[in-house]
């Protein structure tokens, strides 16, 4: 068994408190009258921080082997790949003025 420094109960509590604070924050942000895109950007940034906290502390990525980190990295990278390459098309349609309908 990996006998690395397991986080203590206190650490878990602090992380959970932090997560709840961030949840309240993300809901609060939605009350500001921002342009639509900023709601998404801010919401996803906060969510990314929260997700990272869960993965690193609750899922013990911190004390896991290198292979686990590689799996995490690959999953995140491939998700980005799917989203970014897929959205490339959607962002750039209509950018070329002479191609009606594109």
């Amino acid at each position: 068994m990996t006998e690395k420094r397991t986080p203590s109960v206190t650490t878990y509590m602090i992380v959970c408190a932090l997560l709840i604070v961030l949840t309240v924050l993300t809901v609060t942000v939605s009350f500001f009258d921002l342009p639509g895109i900023w709601h998404v950007v801010l919401g996803l940034c906060i969510a990314a921080v929260k997700g990272a906290l869960v993965v690193v502390f609750f899922m013990h990525a911190l004390i896991s082997s290198r292979v686990t980190w590689i799996v995490i990295a690959v999953a995140c990278f491939w998700l980005c790949l799917l989203l970014m390459l897929g959205l490339t098309d959607y962002f750039t349609r209509g950018l070329v003025p002479f191609m009606t309908g594109h």
Binding site: F98, M99, T100, G101, H102
Partner: protein, 331 residues
């Protein structure tokens, strides 16, 4: 016919075609050379180093880093060349010239509908003049189709709910296949048509005489509406002269004189058919005064202008369909 089967290249009927073929030649030459050299090397090695009774166990050979890098990086540069060449052709093929004539195209299961800017409409046939750029605005009524004319080397999916576009500039008169190349259901293979590329003068004539929405076609409808076809038919039971190739030709009358079949003569023949009777025929025709409107006369004249040998419609008796007819398109 046989020659056509042997020559498998579709004709280069648009400005894009030769450029695409050039890409083909370039890719075939380079890739063919690479492929052949791999195959030849493979066969040569296989024969040269085949196992014989006295072949010793081969020595260790792990690889050679410079060689590996060479055959990693060289293809990369060649490929970037391919990309650039292809991208230029693609870019130009999608960028219609500003003066292109816009034709709207609607695909539906399983036909193509075209509408020219002057309002003429066609189904499964597209007439275009040589030398003039055409931009097609494509959309679909139901599922995805794809507009594909091999002779033009253009290809564009036709999507429901939005317009996509494609353009071409025909350079060679002829009749070319139009295919739907995106699978669209049962009769996908029947969603074909013809693109007629014509000399500009011929196209002008066609544009005014033949296409739906044109005077001539309206005239044809008038011709059928008043059942003119039942006597002026092209078969042996005709009871009146056939009207093919009539316009501006001399007509020999029963009284020995000759008239030129111009607009006035045609109008007169409809409103007062007994006045000038054609040699060899009896006067059976009643007057249509009060029935055929002046506009319809104009349309009839336009139709007769366009009516050439062999183009008279067949005489078809019309019956009212029985009450419980199944819809026509169900089998």
């Amino acid at each position: 016919m046989f020659a056509q089967q042997i020559i498998w290249f579709p004709s280069q009927a648009s400005t894009t075609a030769s450029r695409v073929d050039l890409l083909l030649y370039m890719l075939t030459t380079i890739c063919g050379a690479v492929g052949l050299s791999v195959a030849v090397t493979l066969i040569y090695f296989a024969v040269r180093y085949r196992r014989r009774s006295n072949t010793p166990t081969p020595a260790e050979m792990r690889g050679n880093r410079p060689l590996e890098l060479f055959w990693t990086i060289t293809p990369m540069f060649i490929f970037i060349g391919f990309f650039v060449a292809g991208a230029i052709v693609y870019f130009d093929a999608y960028r219609a010239p500003d003066d292109a004539t816009v034709v709207y195209v609607v695909g539906k299961q399983w036909m193509w509908k075209f509408q020219h800017p002057e309002g003429q409409r066609e189904i499964n046939e597209l007439h275009v003049p040589v030398g003039q750029p055409f931009k097609l605005m494509l959309t679909s009524e139901d599922v995805i189709h794809s507009f594909f004319v091999p002779a033009f080397r253009v290809h564009m999916d036709v999507l429901p709910g939005r317009y996509s576009s494609v353009w071409f500039q025909p350079i060679r008169p002829g009749h070319y296949h139009l295919f739907c190349s995106q699978y669209c259901g049962t009769n996908h293979a029947g969603m074909v048509g013809t693109v007629h590329v014509m000399e500009p003068a011929e196209y002008e004539r066609w544009l005014h005489l033949n296409a739906e929405g044109s005077m001539a076609l309206e005239g044809r409808k008038v011709f059928l509406k008043y059942r003119c076809i039942s006597c002026h038919s092209a078969d042996e039971n005709a009871r009146a002269p056939v009207l093919e190739d009539l316009y501006l030709r001399p007509v020999h009358l029963r009284d020995g004189s000759t008239v030129i079949a111009d607009d006035d003569y045609i109008r007169e023949s409809v409103y007062d058919p007994g006045k000038k009777i054609v040699l060899g025929w009896d006067n059976l025709m009643p007057t249509y005064k009060g029935q055929v409107s002046p506009e319809e006369i104009n349309q009839l004249i336009a139709y007769l202008k366009s009516l050439h040998r062999g183009e008279t419609p067949n005489r078809v008796e019309e019956f009212a369909p029985p009450a419980a007819t199944p819809p026509i398109n169900s089998k």
